[in-house]
């Protein structure tokens, strides 16, 4: 019996512990956001957060998620208003859209630890997420946009610049992510 938390909900799994997390999320929990692209951790379409860090769900066994908090794209917001989702919509990043949930989850993890990333920071963090349609320029621009949105959301009430930075990053982590 494996206990884990998915998007804030406590779950128990008693199937094959070697089954990749992706199939548990998609087919058992009906969370279809994380996608199957390669099955080998090569494309990043299945990226989710495990205790706040990105993992490739296609090649992470459920057993590796025991007692962990998993966040999928569905856990970012119930209405598409997470700053990263907002930025993605404003810039209309997707073409086919198949890789974008994975791109978004990698972007959230980056912004959580680096609220104002440079192009080089973004490239390093995002290089494991392939986009077959080639939307990289918009993905990068949307990450900058999300950083701005988060900073402006948090600067309104804040007065101390130091608080801005740390809170901006914290805000990008969805609720429940990184916390048991």
């Amino acid at each position: 019996m494996i206990k884990l938390k998915v998007n804030g909900v406590n779950r128990q799994f008693d199937g094959d512990p070697e089954m990749p997390l992706l199939w548990y999320l998609r087919d058992d929990l009906d969370l279809k956001g994380a996608k199957f692209g390669c099955g080998m951790g090569l494309c990043g379409a299945c990226t989710v957060h495990l205790n706040g860090k990105t993992v490739r769900a296609c090649s992470t066994p459920v057993s590796a998620a025991a007692n962990a908090a998993i966040t999928t794209v569905e856990g970012l917001s119930s209405d598409g208003t997470h700053p990263v989702q907002v930025a993605w919509q404003e810039l209309d990043v997707p073409q086919c859209g198949y890789c974008q949930a994975g791109q978004i989850m990698s972007a959230c993890a980056l912004l959580a630890k680096n609220p104002k990333p440079t192009d080089a920071d973004i490239d390093t963090a995002m290089n494991g997420n392939l986009c077959r349609c080639g939307t990289y320029l918009r993905v990068r621009a949307a990450i900058h946009k999300a950083a701005e949105l988060t900073a402006s959301n948090t600067t309104k009430p804040a007065t101390k610049p130091v608080a801005k930075t740390s809170r901006a990053g914290a805000n990008l982590l969805p609720r429940n992510s990184g916390k048991k």
Binding site: D16, M19, P20, W23, D27, D28, D30, L31, K32, G33, A34, K35, F36, G37, C38, G39, M40, L42, C43, A45, T72, V73, E74, S77, D79, G80, Q85, W88, Q89, E90, D92, V93, P94, Q95, C96, G97, Y98, C99, Q100, A101, I104, I122, D123, T124, M126, N127, N129, L130, C131, R132, C133, G134, T135, Y136, L137, R138, V139, R140
Partner: protein, 730 residues
């Protein structure tokens, strides 16, 4: 219900809706005849192009499959513009496959040219009838009425009525003569030419289940399908009892299929042989497949190897060509005249479409009827194949057009649809078939590889005077393998006085098919690279050499003026010849005409140590007519085309012992974010009807990058992938 002729092929149908609404549909004539027997009831399906409810809600149906080109925005944009409603006020719904929508096809960059007129006409006709209804209500002349934001306005009396209020009356108005229907002056456009956000973008960023792989049906089982690793092979026996005993497995069986025995494939072969495993979860099916042991009859292609194919092509190149496709003047006489002669053998591999969403399909056979959820780009073809192979009449087959995670031409074929349908019918339950990446990469309809042996000459004035190409591809006799054909009209035919295009073919045991900008995606690389060789041989600037060449044509085929326009624009925007570049950095240009679109692209490239290439920047100039319908999406498509083309410089599918060697993205790479240059996108709005963009924006980038590499290093890339000559992207 009223009808009027729209053109030879279709008529407009207007239907009153219960509750006071109105439907506007554009119906192909053939379908109308077929539909006639079903009578008025059939035409009342709420699935027409425009539905205006009495509460004013305007719903527009997007008829084409969506695989990422924003087709589900563009066609509704055309309707909404002429209907004169606010984009934010409409609801877009996706169509299922239905003859009443006419062609539902996604490919060949045809959505714009094929729909530009009829989609606007249907919106304009609806608007006209709403005006007529208002004018009659008020007792005023139609000419005194105008429309704005979903309302008809009578300015003189300061009255207005919403479309919803007018809907039921509009349904009784005479249908306008569409030939005399006045469509908007483009300067009045409020939607066309303005960026709209993708109709499904919000669903995408929220992870909503909108893709083919996300489909679930109550009671659904999951299937995997193992085909013979050698194309055309079939399963003789398998350890089916052991597989059936595995956890979760419900069924395991051999599918006889229709093994192909010919010398090559021209199109969808139908149902291929293999072994199906059906389980209560996909993971269970896939885990069982790991234990599957199949005895294959590998058939006639089991010894096919890329190395042997290349050797054979080399031998053929030394023989006279099998066919002459075009002969102008006398190239041999030019070679003897003292002109400067250049030769180059260009070699390119098979490559895979590799859309990120592996092929999948959900099918449910029940009571003699088949319901299918598919990402097909050609659902009409798919339905025909399923009907033929399973013996189910087409009108008992329903197909839902589910968003596809990338098409690029892969989903023009419907092999996965036939497999899913067959498996569902066999087991009598709804089944989702999902391929692995390995299945997808090894059982693709590959972009055909090929060999082109070029020879050309420039005279003492630096003018291109001779061009000769011996194209060696695949086929049988006078037939070429799918998307592996060439003809005598390829540029620079008609622009060179002495021109010889010849071809020879070899047999091939591999499926081939259309990859985004089929043929052009690699022929542009061959032709534009060799033109560059000739420009350098002539001692001419590569842009000027091309402009001179484009100015020397004879009528027919592409419009040289439009191509000159984009070449000049891209040269200007990139600062061609105007900027001093450091050593190891250079610019290259390529242009290509395909799918009615004119594109030229410049790449600025720095070659670092160990032949690592950094593409610093790309400039693109295109002419696809008078309107860029959705500019934001057009920029995204163009940038994507450049990234896609750069990826193709790295890719290769090869064969060993009849099997595809590559299996996943580590062996068939695509460009990463860090390798993606800034890409400037420019368009010339020329006085031509709008045409498609998805494909023609791709081909020029391949030669642009390779030509820049040559200028930077002196090394000409004549073999793809570029890794064969030691190059790679930094």
């Amino acid at each position: 219900m009223t009808k009027t002729n729209l053109n030879r092929r279709s008529f407009l149908q207007v239907t009153a809706l219960a509750g006071g609404g109105v439907l506007f549909g554009l119906y192909p004539k053939a379908a109308a005849l077929a539909q006639g027997a079903r009578g008025a009831q059939a035409s009342l399906q709420p699935s027409s192009f425009i539905s205006i409810a009495s509460n004013g809600l305007v719903t527009i149906t997007a008829k084409n499959p969506e695989t990422g080109q924003h087709a589900r925005n563009m066609l509704p944009m055309m309707i909404a513009e002429e209907l004169d409603v606010e984009w934010k006020d409409i609801k877009i719904v996706r169509a299922d496959l239905d003859a009443k929508y006419g062609s539902q096809f996604s490919g060949g960059s045809t959505a714009t040219p094929g729909n530009w007129e009829p989609m606007r006409q249907i919106g304009g006709a609806a608007r006209h009838m709403l005006i007529a209804a208002a004018a009659q209500t008020w007792g005023v002349a139609e000419s005194e009425c105008s429309t704005a934001s979903g309302r008809v306005i009578h300015k003189a009396s300061n009255r207005s009525l919403g479309y919803g209020e007018l809907a039921s009356k509009a349904a009784t108005m005479p249908v306008p003569d569409l030939k005399s229907l006045k469509l908007k002056d483009p300067k009045d456009y409020k939607i066309i030419g303005k960026t709209t956000i993708g109709a499904e973008t919000k669903d995408v960023v929220m992870g909503k289940p909108i893709f083919g792989i996300d489909v679930t049906v109550p009671g659904m089982l999951y299937a995997t399908f193992q085909k013979c690793p050698v194309y055309g092979g079939k399963a003789v026996s398998a350890n089916l009892d052991a597989i059936k005993a595995m956890k979760g497995v419900k069924h395991a069986f051999i599918v006889e299929g229709q093994p192909i025995t010919g010398n090559f494939m021209t199109s969808d072969p139908g149902l291929e042989p293999g072994v199906a495993i059906v389980a209560d979860s996909w993971w269970a099916a896939q885990s069982a497949r790991e234990k599957l042991e199949v005895k294959w009859d590998e058939g006639k292609w089991a010894t096919q190897n890329s190395v042997d194919i290349a050797k054979k092509a080399d031998e053929i190149s030394k023989q006279p060509a099998a066919r002459t496709l075009r002969k102008d003047g006398d190239v041999e006489a030019v070679y003897k005249s003292g002109a400067k002669v250049v030769e180059g053998a260009y070699i390119y591999p098979f490559i895979s479409h590799a859309p990120l969403e592996p092929q999948n399909c959900t099918a449910h056979f029940q009571d003699g009827k088949m319901e299918i959820w598919a990402t097909s780009q050609t659902p009409q073809n798919g339905r025909g194949m399923v009907s033929r192979i399973l013996g189910i009449p087409e009108n008992n087959i329903t197909i839902h057009l589910v968003r596809g995670g990338g098409g690029f031409g892969r989903r023009l074929n419907n092999d996965y649809m036939c497999e899913a349908a067959w498996i569902s019918k066999t087991v009598g339950a709804p089944v989702k078939l999902l391929w692995t990446r390995e299945d997808d990469m090894q059982h693709d309809y590959f972009r055909p590889g090929g060999f082109q042996y070029l020879k050309g000459a420039v005279d003492s004035n630096g003018k291109l005077v001779a061009w000769q190409d011996h194209f060696i591809g695949y086929g049988d006799g006078e037939r070429f393998t799918a998307s592996g054909n060439i003809d005598g009209g390829e540029f620079p035919a008609r622009f060179v006085p002495n021109f010889l295009m010849q071809s020879s073919v070899m047999p091939l045991g591999l499926k081939t098919g259309a990859l985004r900008a089929p043929r052009s995606n690699v022929y542009a690389w061959v032709f534009q690279s060799f033109i560059d060789e000739l420009a350098h041989a002539a001692g001419k600037d590569p842009v000027q050499f091309r402009l001179d060449l484009l100015s020397s044509g004879t009528p027919g085929g592409m419009n040289a003026e439009r191509m000159i326009g984009v070449v000049k624009l891209v040269a200007e925007k990139s600062g061609w010849g105007q900027r001093k570049l450091p050593k190891g950095t250079a610019m290259g240009i390529g242009f290509h005409f395909s799918h009615q679109g004119y594109f030229a692209q410049v790449a600025e490239v720095t070659v670092l140590a160990n032949k690592k290439i950094k593409v610093n920047k790309v400039w693109s100039a295109g002419d696809i007519g008078s309107q860029i319908i959705n500019p934001g999406a057009a920029e995204n498509q163009t940038q994507g085309a450049v990234v896609d083309g750069m990826s193709e410089l790295l890719q290769e599918i090869s064969l060993k012992n009849g099997r595809v060697v590559q299996s996943n993205y580590h062996q068939h790479p695509m460009l990463k974010m860090s390798q993606t240059p800034p890409i400037e996108v420019h368009f010339i709005k020329s006085n031509n009807s709008p045409t498609g963009l998805g494909e023609p924006a791709l081909p020029p980038i391949l030669p642009a990058v390779c030509n820049a590499i040559f200028t930077a290093t002196g090394e000409r890339i004549r073999t793809l992938p570029i890794t064969k000559q030691g190059f790679s992207f930094a």
